[in-house]
Symmetry: C2
Subunit: 197 residues, 2 copies
DNA sequence: CCTACCGATCGGTAGG
DNA sequence: CCTACCGATCGGTAGG
């Protein structure tokens, strides 16, 4: 019913959809649920979007863009693997905590994309992960990180980072910066090669 | 069509359901999909189960039971927090990797439980997490773990562990034991208080 | 375990 | 953005 001043109706649909998709899942959210939450008739949604899946597509790809933009400055920069990984972790965590709903949809409901969108999504995700994998591989090569296998380490890294949306509470007593830094510390400490220290 | 010798039709339904729920999600899996995969008519499913949700319930609670059984011997034992956490992590990871499908359903689709089952599920999960939280709190108190806040640490711990179902491949080149131990090492190393070393 | 079927709900369209 | 509506599919039951 109430529409914020800066957002169009389409943005509002996207926001409400993100929230409902996160809470109930894409498949379990009907267009009727969505319309009711916004306060319009179900059929009216189609004046702004072309299909339920197109809505999912937009959510997934716009948050993907945020992830890439967040790591771009780090990619450009040529610091050591440790500093680089630390910045990348913080950047990644910030994107998630600043967009919990969209991040949850991105991390789960992408499965419901189909055809070329699904293919494109997987390609992007792989590219994104490669950035982290390379930093880790460099760190291992330079002896700063223990060698647990870079593939395994990336998986562990994203495992630790990607579950945040499940428990992060924007109104809780930990702020984004604190979470990002603390989480980064724990993981990096876990990766560090301290057999030699 | 083909029914394994040791399992009843009901077990078979449960197994196929676990797999389909994991792959497509509970809401996106229809009883018709399930019946087709088994090779019987949709209506015939109801000779063995009472409803779609009861199937979800059985999956969620039987894996919950496995989690509790896995940590029971560790609970009984009174070793130091470090050893205890290590064993608990390994036990937890083993349950997940030995039951990837059920674990995925347990970790995600429990949301679709309702009424008293949902309440009971949440209570059990909280109890399970408390076991880990206490070990961590002890470790922090004794100075073996850094103090990042035990609530935050448990969240980080489960974040790192619970995503495994998403990438673990039973036919891959890492076996369960290796994954469990390596993952445990990384996390515990991350928790360790090495400012004093 | 099957045939036959139910009411409810789904995503989406036509036409204004 | 709404009214009116479509064909398809849903979980599940009756009765054998």
């Amino acid at each position: 019913m109430v529409q914020s001043i800066t957002s169009t109706r389409k943005d509002q649909i996207k926001e409400v959809a993100q929230n409902m998709f996160r809470e109930r899942g894409y498949a379990a959210t009907s267009m009727r649920d969505l319309a009711a939450a916004i306060g319009i008739e179900p059929a009216s949604l189609y004046s702004h979007i072309s299909s339920k899946e197109s809505l999912l597509k937009e959510i997934c790809f716009s948050i993907a863009k945020e992830f890439f933009e967040a790591i771009a400055p780090i990619q450009a920069n040529d610091s050591d693997p440790l500093t680089k990984l630390e910045s990348a972790i913080i950047a990644h965590v910030k994107v998630i905590t600043n967009n919990v709903d969209a991040a949850a949809v991105f991390l789960h409901d992408w499965r419901h994309l189909s055809g070329p969108d699904l293919t494109k999504f997987k390609r992007m995700r792989h590219e994104y992960e490669s950035f982290f994998r390379e930093i880790i591989a460099d760190g291992v090569k330079q002896g700063v990180f223990r060698d647990a296998g870079d593939k395994f380490m990336v998986l562990t890294l994203f495992s630790a980072l990607n579950w945040i949306y499940d428990w992060y509470n924007p109104t809780g007593n930990l702020n984004v910066e604190e979470i990002a830094v603390k989480l980064g510390e724990i993981i990096i400490n876990g990766f560090k090669n301290n057999t030699s220290s």
